[in-house]
Structures are given as C-alpha cells and as structure tokens.
Symmetry: C2
Subunit: 328 residues, 2 copies
C-alpha cells in the first residue's frame, strides 16, 4: 500500500514535492490544495485531484501525510498547527529564530489530535542542521562554520526589485574562497560578515532609471547589502532570462575540532551541497521525511518532531536488513 500524499500550496516547492513523489515508488500524490481557482491550476501527475484549500479537511481519511508548501512569514505559523489537527504534516518552516515557538504550537495541536508534525525540513534548517548536530556531538571541543552559496537569495533579489527604477533583479550569495580554505585548514578564524560572503547582483533597469543611484541604493541597503562587498551588473531583460532564470543554491557546513588528552589532534568535518534547484532539493528532503511521518504515526507516535528526533532509517523505503547490507 502506498503512502497517500497531499500537497498544500502549489508553487515552486509544491511542484518540487510532486516531482519527488514521482521518484518514490512507495508514495502517490492524492491531491493538491490551492488558494487559486482549481480549474486554473494544471499539475503534472495524472489522476491526482486539484482542490480548493478550504476542502482540505474533507480529505482527512484519504491522505496519510499533508505536505505544507506555504511561506514561513505568514502561512506556516497558521497552517501547520491547523492542519496537524487532521493530518500528519511536514513543513519547511525556516525562520530559525522562531522555531522554538513554532515547535510548541505544532506540538500542542499534534498531541491533541494524535498526529505527527515534522517541522523545519529542508536543507537549512534540515540537512545542514543535522550536520551541525552530529559534528557537535562527535567533536565537543570545536567550532562551527556555515557558508551559503553560490546561490540565489530570493529575499535579496526581492529587496532589489523594490528599489525605484529597477525592473527585475537576481542576487547571488557567494562564499569567500579564502575564508573557506582557512576554515578547512583548521585555522579556526574569526570571520566578520564581510569576510564570509560576497553578494553579486544582476539588475534590469526601467527606461530612464539612474544607474549610479540604483547601484548606490543597493550597496548601502542596511541588513541586506551594507555589511557585504557587493557587485552590481546592469544587464538586459533578455540576458537575465537567458542566464539567470535558474534557482541554484548550496553551501558548506564545517566543524573543526580537537581530540586527544591535551587536544593535540585536529579534525575537520565538512558537509556540502551543490544544488541546481533549491526548491526541488528541499522538496526531496521533505518527501523523505513524509515517509518518516507516516511510519512514526503507524507506530502510534504523535507530537511535533524535527530532523533531530527521527532515526535515519525512517527516511528510507528499504528495510533495516537491506540498509545494513547495502549502505552500512
């Protein structure tokens, strides 16, 4: 029997989940729920339903795990506690500072309904968090570094687009190679924001906009750009669409630490991702955790979980025996 999945929210992430389900022989897409008019939404999976989000609760007994593909700012803080009343759910809530609060709300609702809610699944938070946690447990005396990129930051791209005179824009976050090398060499450097990442912007101007003024506005924008070395390139709309329409991302989690009676030996643990499509990779992680949500629920567990709480074997369709034989 396959795991029946629902997707709530059909943007880049929702479509990524749909693709991940196609690669998972033990899963099937039951329905997509959307705030738009369902007649206007065309999905890729034959046989799956497209429904209004207001109908979701009616699918209570026809969906094993509901994957919530909304945004962290306003959607998920409301949606995850709401839908865990009816379904096992997985979300990708990624506002790090608000995770404890989100956890409490989801946990309360999930304990009450007897369902499993897995939050903050993806790569950061998600696989990067796991790498940090394993490395910290193994090397208690050490230091963590996280670098992001090279990749597109949606938030920074949006910030540029809001500047008057800007028609379109894409921003790449790029780790500073020399900083990465120093960390890998176990030098434990103290790094400022500016020393860790640079920002590269590709900007399409409106007719008659003032280049110098836009560039100045970008480079001095507080929080987003002022603390970084930022490069701005003005390009045509055609070039932007041709060369910058992808959503690549990635990054590096590195812990360097010391062992030995007098801490005489040094070790470096590094985890890195190089992703053509940020939302599709995030969706692939989410699909694996949907499998875990299903299995944990079958075992009678309930409440809110994060990647820290879930034994790795639950993510795989293989049996313990197969895993030990082929991957241990």
């Amino acid at each position: 029997m396959s795991i029946r999945i629902g997707i709530l929210g059909y943007g880049n992430l929702g479509r990524g989940v749909e693709c991940a389900i196609k690669q998972s022989p033990d899963m099937e897409l039951a329905a997509v729920f959307t705030r738009r008019d369902p007649a206007s939404v065309s999905i890729l999976t034959e046989g799956a339903a497209v429904c209004k989000v207001t109908e979701a609760a009616e699918w209570k007994d026809k969906i094993d795990v509901m994957i919530l593909c909304g945004g962290s700012a306003t959607d998920l803080p409301e949606q995850t506690p709401e839908y865990v009343q009816y379904f096992n759910v997985v979300d990708s809530f990624d506002t790090h500072a608000r995770i404890p609060e989100h956890f409490e709300q989801v946990n309360q609702a999930a304990k009450a309904s007897g369902k499993v809610g897995i939050i903050s699944v993806g790569w950061d938070p998600g696989m990067f968090s796991l790498s940090r946690m394993y490395a910290n447990a193994i090397l208690p005396e050490g230091r963590d570094y996280t670098f992001w990129g090279k990749g597109v930051s949606q938030g920074h791209s949006d910030a540029i687009r809001r500047i008057s005179g800007v028609k379109n824009a894409k921003q790449y976050t790029i780790p500073v190679e020399s900083a990465l090398e120093a960390v890998r060499a176990g030098e434990n450097p103290e790094l400022t924001t500016r020393q860790k990442h640079t920002r590269e912007c590709f900007v399409v101007l409106e007719e008659g906009a003032d280049k110098a003024k836009v560039e100045e506005e970008i480079k001095t924008m507080p929080n987003y750009f002022a603390d970084y070395d930022t490069t701005v390139h003005f390009i045509s709309e055609e070039e932007l669409l041709k060369n910058h329409s992808g959503i690549p991302h990635g990054g590096f989690v590195i812990r360097s630490g010391r062992t030995g009676w007098e801490q005489e030996n040094s070790h470096v643990i590094e985890y890195s991702l190089k992703l053509d499509s940020n939302p599709e990779f995030t969706a692939s992680v989410i699909a694996a955790y949907a499998r875990a949500a299903f299995c944990l629920s079958k075992e009678g567990q309930s409440g809110c979980k994060t990647v820290f709480d879930i034994a790795p074997a639950y993510l795989s369709p293989k049996s313990g025996e197969e895993l030990r034989k082929s991957l241990l």
Copy 2:
C-alpha cells in the same frame, strides 16, 4: 548523575575513548579491562580502575555502557554477543560483509538480556554510512562514491611488513584528485579501482635486503597493491619515525543525483573528513553513541542497533529544546 563507562581493550582505540570521555561532562570512566597484567597498564584517568578482562562481568552494576575496543577479525564477533549479556555495549565492528551476521548474533543476545548493543560505530562504517543513507533517501535517482584518504591503512602497512627484508613500513591510501573532481562535477564516471585511489609506501629495509625485489613484491601483491598505481619510497628508520608516526585518515562520500519531472536538475551532496588521528576520531563517534545506548536503555529499549536506528538527538548531551534553539 554521570554515565559510567567501561573500556574493554586498551590500545589506540581504547585510549581514544578515554580522551573522548574527558571531553564529555556527562560521562566518567569507571574502569579499563585488559588482557595484559593490570599492574603493567598505566592509564591517563585518575581514579579509574584497571582490571583483568576476566573480571568484567563483576562490574555489571557499576558500568552503564561498556565500550568494546577489540579488533573485528576475531575479538568482536565473540566479545559483543558475550558482553551484551551484562552491559549496554558499543563496538566498531568494521568488516562490512559480515555486519548482517554480527547484527543477528548481537541482537539475539541483547534481546535476551534486555540490553542495548550498538554495532559498527565509527566513520566507515559509521558517519560515512549515515551520509550514504541520508543522501540515498533524499536523492533516490543517483549514484554513490566513497573515496578514502589521504590516510594510513594499517592492513596495507602490515602486509608490507610481512615481506622478507622489510624492517618497518607505512602505507598511505590517496584518492585520485581528477576522479574526485569528475564526481563533484556530477559527471557520474565509471571508475576502476586504479582510477579511484593510489597507494604510497614508505619502507625501511633490513640490512642487505634487495630493494628491487622488495619493490616488485609490494607492487605485485594481489588484493593489496596489484590493482593500484603504487609508489615505493625507501627511507631510514629515523625518517619513518620522524615523518610517518601519525595515524591520519579521512575521505569523501559523494552522491550525485537528479530531480525534476524529467530529471532535468542535478545535485551533489558531499561529506568529508580530514582526521589527524583515525582512532581518536573513531573513539569520539563511539563516545557519542555510548550516550545514545545509555538513553535508549533508560527508555526500556533493547536489542542490536546501528547508526541507522538512532535519532540524532540521542548523541548530544543537550536537551531537545537547546538543540532546536542553537543548532536547527
């Protein structure tokens, strides 16, 4: 209350565990058990006992987790099922092909005694296995690569030492940089044994031994060297001790895979280790899993487990709340 640890076998790995316990504020070393005369064994930890291995069972109620530091060839297949009768145990059984059989034996004994036995802990098997497993669950369509080194292979060093005319030797396994680069670029190359690793040997000859003959014997040794490009350097005993007395190791686990409705996007997940001391790092992983064995046992679990079966949070001394706040 601290977790009381026993160490059975006091070689490089046992000493590494002792150092790891020093870095773990929630653990204490209760006793070391040795096949040697305890009076002849001096350990680093003040206040811990040194006992004959034959006395181990008497410590049944004074040790929470016994860490078995014997070898995989003959010690652990006997010791792990034996000692799990009395203790929660952790071992580093690393004969990949015999893991299923070892698992069954330990599981049977552990189920009977109500204890937890965690087997095959370290970095390969261990952290490398986890990286392979997570990456396989996330990217079902893809390909795995494992490279080892640069590092000392004890087995290959021993094989050289058994050649007549050789006084001492150290062998390094080195990944081929161009192969690593091709894998990282997502090219999914088919790689032969020779294309993945080279072997570099530092050899001290006995007086009057025949250089050419020894070199020929090394390079043509089946299984160990014949399938590799091997370099042999003859050096003095002083140079060997001065420049090659460490036990560094490490390696890379890489999975490249594809997502998207038509598999149009490519992703690379990489995990790597660079270790000054192979046994101390292995011991540090084992110490974290000893914490897990203790917690699982407290919860009433029993039987044989591997790294696949254990939720990451069990490895950390931090609470779930602290972990979510600081590392998610």
